[in-house]
């Protein structure tokens, strides 16, 4: 199987056993790899609770991982979300996926629960479960110093150990498998970390064709202003979006009460680059290098983190924002959910947090102590406990990211239909509606958006399965990636055959959610977006017309065949 290692690791932490088995070729054909394969492997087990020992957590790579295909250095972590209860995959970069593949494994499936804290150690075909009681309570940055040298590692900090429902799994100390709280799944299994190192090579069916396909992709990346342009993410990281979302008056401010934060330019991409003298870094083999590190080693926040610790919480101080991001990375906390839960608390309590209070609250959440204990369950449970569920800005209990839906109606639809809850990455209509890629659409219209969202969801399910980075699809597409895939595997896919697979993955996720009680009534937005206008100015930001939204949603169901 070109492009695949052909083997996977099966780890049973209850029995303390590691088995090597053959990667199921049929599932790879049907679901490719990465997200699709991981979701398919979950099967009936998806109805277990997240902390039931038989619930798997799967680290899954795709056939492009470990090859020269641009942005293929990614993987998906799949399980059931502790926060939402949905099936959840988290696409993540760093080096872990590449090292795992080079070690000779397409994926790791972990079940059971250890009695004591352990680390799984993988070095090529040598795999062991190592007791690691001494690492309990150690946060990510110290953990990196203790066990990270020479390896890639996936680990949880205290947040995951203590079951914060939106705790993340941190890869290589800075890449977050963030949304949905998969860190708590590892925590329930008393799995502190996985270290991996591999030096094998991935077999490719047609290297010459692969080189051509790669050059086609690179040419498109170089031509894309959003990627390699003067103000693109290669230059500024995703913080490049701060100025743009600010200009479009769709930056979630004060728990989505407003959509414009006058001081946002104080944490713009330009401010960050200038003040922190950033350098580029990124996932294994990636030409874009969208991650940024400050001169003194500061991990620079992504757009979502900057905006949510900024405008969403009324904070204009860049240093506070960078520190908040650092705390989240160190404890292993999803920044979007953490910031949004805090903003929800602030609105319910009628207060505005100072910088120091914001930071101390994050630490309390990470330690699951004091007020942090209540906040560690996410904004929806917290808001319900205070009798104000309507003030949780979430869908299916997953907090919304940094694009106010009143400023982009495709995004409004995408938040509602997302299989893992309030997420912008499932369909990523930011591409068309804001960045004008691959084509510009009217962000204040629902016309054509139902099919656009459906198609985008299918495409991105494929992208997550190959694995390839979402950003590359601002420039290239499945037309170029299908050729790359065929060059690697020797297969004969095209855009439509891949999209059929994407559709299968999407529908499988939806059926899994239905098995856990999710229904169409869960595909909705908080009432605020239909009743309150945004912050109009150069552009008018009215509330979303509820009838139009429901019509678009109905169209979506018809297009999907759900109705």
């Amino acid at each position: 199987m070109n492009g695949y290692a052909g083997k996977y690791l099966k780890v049973d932490l209850s029995a303390g056993k590691v088995t090597v088995a053959a990667t199921p070729a049929g599932l790879c054909e049907s679901y490719i790899g990465g997200r699709g394969l991981g979701v398919a492997l979950m099967g009936d087990r998806i109805t277990h609770t997240y902390d039931y020992p038989k619930m798997p957590i799967i680290f899954s790579t795709g056939p492009l991982v470990g090859t020269d295909v641009p942005t293929s250095g990614r993987m998906s972590v799949v399980s059931r979300s502790p926060l939402t209860g949905t099936v959840t995959d988290s696409s993540v970069g760093g080096c872990f996926g590449t090292e795992l593949k080079r070690a000779g494994f397409d994926y790791i499936e972990i079940t059971g629960a250890s009695k004591e804290w352990v680390v799984i150690d993988i070095e090529n075909d040598s795999v062991s479960i190592v007791t690691a009681g001494n690492l309990a309570g150690v946060n990510i940055f110290d953990l990196h110093k203790l066990i990270g040298a020479g390896h890639s590692f996936a680990a949880i900090g205290r947040a995951g150990e203590r079951g914060v429902l939106y705790s993340s799994i941190m890869i290589d100390g800075r890449y977050a498998a963030g949304r949905g709280g998969l860190g708590a799944v590892m925590g329930a299994k008393k799995l502190k970390a996985i270290r991996v190192k591999g030096d094998g090579m991935i077999s490719v069916a047609d290297p010459e064709c692969l080189a051509e396909a790669t050059e086609d992709i690179m040419r498109l990346l170089r031509a894309s202003p959003a990627i390699f342009g003067e103000f693109g993410i290669a230059e500024f990281g995703t913080a490049a979006l701060v100025d743009l979302i600010h200009a479009r008056r769709m930056e979630p401010t004060d728990n989505f009460r407003r959509t414009y934060f006058p001081e946002a330019t104080r944490y713009s991409g330009h401010q960050i680059k200038t003040r922190y003298m950033t350098e580029k870094t990124g996932c294994a083999g990636c030409p874009i290098l969208c991650k940024k590190t400050g001169l003194r080693g500061e991990v620079i926040p992504e757009f979502e983190s900057a905006s949510h610790f900024g405008a969403l919480n009324g904070c204009a101080d860049l240093q506070t924002i960078v520190e908040a991001n650092r705390i989240c990375n160190d404890f292993g906390l999803d920044t979007i959910s953490a910031a949004s839960t805090i903003a929800c608390y602030a609105e319910i309590s009628g207060i505005r947090l100072t910088s120091s209070k914001l930071l101390s609250m994050l630490i309390e959440i990470g330690n699951r102590e004091g007020l942090g204990s209540a906040l560690s369950e996410g904004s929806f449970r917290y808001a319900c406990s205070r009798g104000r569920p309507e003030l949780s800005m979430s869908v299916k209990k997953l907090e919304l990211p940094a694009y106010d839906p009143r400023g982009a109606y495709g995004m409004a639809l995408a938040y509602a239909t997302s299989n893992r809850g309030g997420c912008h990455m499932r369909a990523y209509p930011v591409g068309c509606e804001i960045l004008r890629k691959p084509v510009a659409v009217d962000r204040f219209s629902f016309e054509g958006k139902a099919r656009m969202i459906k198609i985008s969801e299918d495409i991105n399910a494929v992208a997550d399965s190959l694995s390839a980075c979402r950003f590359t699809f601002l420039a290239a597409g499945l037309e170029e990636y299908s050729r790359a895939l065929n060059a690697v595997t020797g297969g004969d896919h095209d855009v439509q055959s891949l999209m059929k697979i994407g559709e299968s993955i999407w529908n499988l996720e939806r059926r899994m959610n239905a098995a856990n009680g999710f229904a169409m009534s869960d595909d909705d937005l908080p009432a605020r977006f239909f009743t309150e206008e945004g912050s109009s100015g150069s552009a008018k930001i009215p509330p979303i017309d509820r009838e139009e939204f429901l019509r678009a949603l109905d169209n979506y169901y018809r297009i999907r065949g759900y109705k």
Binding site: L220, F228, L241, I434, R436, S482, D494
Partner: protein, 413 residues
């Protein structure tokens, strides 16, 4: 949705690419929309749409000369024919389309198969079919680019063919020549020569700048110096560059102009044209603040016609060490965007006041101070010079090969 379909059908007709009565445009959200209710092709296209996960499908018989050009290419190109592909070498194709598959006839399975690999497909003797993944605009853009690419390929390859015959003493195909002359006459319709008067006094306000950009953008499109959403235009005013957005149509700039600070203090320009850096660098080097970029056809063709020996032809578009000119206009290599082979570096390096720059296989940059009149006139003149140079070359070659006159692109009697 029908409004959207009709908008792009109107554009295709206005640009001389296809007539509405020769076009079938389908768009689908939850419901299906089509500009026509009856037609032999409709059932076939419905079937293609059913097989594909797209939002729109456009099938049209292109207007002349494109129809004849495509027929000639399909019949004559040794690399193509039904079941094969056409590979134009212009920049638009190389970057965004790669190649154009050819399908025998209105066979839905074959069409869907080909469209699953590429955005635009040639149906032998019938027309072009394109799809839009997200919007009908994408189908329109692909159709427009297909016509552009075929035009470039046909006229460039014909010149190369005649030149090779002359140099090698090869017997020329007189049927080819006859068809070529007929097509050349038909091509007169794509060449607009009317003078366009643009605002000449410098702007006083930002509203003036926007109005100038819109006026100049419309002029470029009306003169057919660019197709669909390609080309870009900028004006530097009070430490900001006002520039058309990426993917915008130059004749619809009212809401598609980005105001970008020259000092780089805001990344709002992430949605600006992919050639923002080229525009900025031209200004920084020359002080010329009214800058236009278009894809005029004969300028592109002549930039690709090169008789230098001993070069690696596969990299001419991104790395050319030779000093080349079309008339007095320098020709440079350069890929779209930034990077080591990007035109953001190569174009500004040779830009001078009073002289434009042609990018190999791509298009033309022209710049002047304070008003778009001179850069527009420069663009038009470079295109006219290129067309004349092409006509002269053909004329000399046909006289040599057949002792036969070629009256340029005179209209047929």
């Amino acid at each position: 949705m029908l409004n959207v379909i009709n908008k792009y059908l109107d554009k295709l007709e206005a640009q001389g690419l296809s007539k509405k009565e020769d076009s079938t445009f389908l768009a689908v959200d939850a419901d299906l929309f089509c500009n026509r209710q009856t037609g032999d092709d409709i059932a076939c296209l419905y079937e293609v749409l059913r097989m594909m996960n797209v939002s729109s499908l456009l099938f049209a018989s292109p207007s002349e000369p494109y129809r004849s050009i495509i027929r000639q290419i399909v019949e004559r190109d040794s690399e193509c024919g039904a079941g094969n592909i056409i590979v134009p070498m212009d920049c638009e194709t190389r970057t965004f389309f790669h190649d154009f598959p050819v399908v025998d006839d209105l066979n839905p399975v074959a069409m869907a198969h080909a469209l699953s690999r590429r955005k635009a497909v040639i149906i032998s003797n019938l027309g072009i079919v394109t799809h839009g993944a997200f919007t009908p605009e994408q189908a329109y853009i692909s159709f427009s680019s297909a016509c552009f690419s075929m035009f470039i390929k046909y006229f460039h390859d014909s010149l190369v063919y005649f030149d090779n015959c002359a140099r090698n003493g090869t017997r020329i195909d007189t049927d080819y020549v006859k068809a070529f002359i007929d097509i050349a006459r038909l091509s007169v319709v794509v060449m607009r020569r009317e003078r366009v008067a643009l605002r000449s006094e410098p702007p006083r306000t930002e509203d003036d700048v926007a109005a100038m950009l819109m006026e100049a953008g419309r002029a470029i499109v009306t003169r057919r110096l660019v197709d669909s959403h390609f080309g870009n235009i900028s004006y530097i005013f009070k430490d900001h560059i006002f520039i058309s957005r990426t993917g915008s149509s130059l004749d619809e700039l009212e809401h598609d102009i980005d105001k970008v600070p020259l000092d780089g203090s805001s990344s709002v320009g992430i949605t600006a044209s992919s050639e923002l850096s080229a525009h900025k660098n031209i200004y920084l080097k020359t002080g010329l603040n009214a800058i236009m970029h278009a894809h005029p056809k004969f300028s592109v063709i002549m930039s690709m016609f090169c008789k230098e020996a001993g070069c690696d032809r596969s990299i001419c578009h991104k790395l050319c060490a030779k000093k080349r000119f079309v008339g007095n206009t320098p020709v440079v290599s350069g890929e779209i965007g930034t990077g080591p082979t990007g035109l953001a570096g190569t174009v500004p390096a040779v830009m001078e006041e009073g002289r434009g720059v042609i990018i190999y296989g791509h298009g033309v940059f022209a710049a002047e101070r304070d008003s778009f009149q001179k850069p527009f006139d420069m663009l038009a003149q470079i295109e006219e010079n290129s067309r004349q140079q092409y006509a002269n070359a053909i004329s000399d070659l046909l006289k040599h090969l057949l002792d036969s006159p070629f009256d340029g692109f005179a209209e047929s009697g």
